[in-house]
Amino acid sequence: MSLKNVMENWSAYRKDAEAGGHHTYEHRWAMSINLDLCIGCNACSTACYAENNLAVVGPERFAKGQAMHWMRIERYWDVEDKEYPDQGASFLPMMCQQCGAATCEPVCPVAATYHTPDGLNAQVYNRCIGSRYCSNNCPFRVRYFNFYSYYESAWPEPMHLQLNPDLSVRDKGVMEKCTFCVQRIRVAKDKAKIENRKVKDGEFTTACAQACPTSAIVFGDTMDPESKVSMLWKQHQVTRAVYKQHKEDPELRGYRIFEELNVDPSVMYLERVRDTTV
């Protein structure tokens, strides 16, 4: 973004945050995760491992916090004065929130992470030099660093045949994170373009949403007002580009994590309603 560009396209950069700020979007992929439906089965996480060539690191490295799970299930025991088994965990699937104003992007010294016209926080592995600045600046802790050349041991033959050819196998010294299954987005957009149409809602979905047995995860484009995900966002009166939601009905369950930091996450969670603590 040169100064000349800024001066010439000043009005384009003066857009409201609701209109996407200084970005021009083609799509805005988003999610809705219903925590009332989430049973904490980890199917999404497993599907993500299979889809995105994620390495299994083993228990020692996992304990050091070097696991590569782009999608993880966080567990919370949120009722006070009660211990397991009197209290059951509540689950929260956590992955990259594809923030509209992402904190990881401006700190990258080599522009390996940037904002795409689809509203995604892209990570270009070839550019990444492994400074890990982005990871340290991410409030969600969803960026994962390749401390080792996992590909050497993670898929011993013949397991290497299970690797997904639609995305690269990352090497040592590179940061990686959830991409909202950009390889599927790419295929769907290519197909739509060839057929001279727009991408249809439900035409494709992410691996986690596909694997979810209770359909807790819904994926789609919020720029398409008819899509299931934008209906859900509207239904729960969750809007983008705000740091505090103004709801007519406070009973509505939709919220975004760390909204108050004004990072504009693309994932809406629907709060869990608990009758019992188990």
Binding site: Y114, T116, P117, L120, A122, V124, Y125, N126, R127, P165, D166, L167, S168, V169, V182, Q183, R186, D190, K193, I194
Partner: protein, 202 residues
């Protein structure tokens, strides 16, 4: 002196009318540009050359005979190019469709027939290979440069030549274009292709 002549020559035509010589030169230039590539101004083929190595294939397949002499369309054998990411290598059965009858006395065809009778396929080596982190789709490029422009499909080899060079003059294919990022990005810039990193990097 030169400057003086130039101003004298062009003064007459300075207000709207075209100088006959310059008009002629412009026409010849435009004509030669159109005929040399066969493309009007809407497409600018990528420039750049690469000195590739000769690849030894199991059978020295003569592209030149198939394309130039027999006028076979590229997409007759590389049939997946218009439908998928990869152009595809034809199955041996496709070769044998013609070569059960045609040119059976040639040593190369006899070698092919040997493969066919053993039920094996020749282990063709990949010549034009982009790195694993690149998403490239033949389908979208053919749609843009051929089908969307109503470009005659029988001349598709000229579009293939953007990236593969003049295969019609080669026996076995040889890499003659750089196929690196700067080269791809240059063509994308000229022809309005996507500039987003994640369009190609995966």
């Amino acid at each position: 002196m030169v400057q003086w002549i130039r101003t004298r020559m062009f003064r007459k035509y300075a207000h709207g009318a075209f100088h006959p010589v310059s008009l002629g030169v412009a026409l010849i230039l435009a004509w030669s540009m159109m005929t040399s590539t066969g493309f009007a101004a809407d497409v600018q083929p990528p420039g750049g050359v690469h000195k590739g190595v000769d690849v030894e294939q199991p059978i020295e397949f003569p592209h030149n005979i198939h394309v130039e002499v027999n006028k076979i369309n590229c997409m007759y054998c590389h049939t997946y190019a218009r439908r998928s990411k990869v152009a595809g290598i034809p199955p041996t059965s496709k070769c044998m469709g013609c070569h059960k009858i045609i040119a059976t006395d040639k040593p190369r065809i006899q070698k092919l027939t040997e493969y066919w009778q053993k039920g094996e396929s020749p282990k063709w080596k990949k010549v034009h290979d982009v790195p694993d982190f690149v998403h490239f789709t033949h389908e979208r490029h053919l749609k843009k440069f051929v089908f969307d422009r109503d470009y005659p499909v029988e001349d598709v080899k000229e579009v293939c030549a953007f990236c593969h060079g003049q295969i019609k003059e080669m026996t076995v294919a040889k890499k003659v274009k750089p196929l690196n990022m700067g080269w791809c990005a240059g063509c994308h810039e000229k022809n309005g292709g996507p500039g987003d990193c994640w369009k190609c990097h995966k």
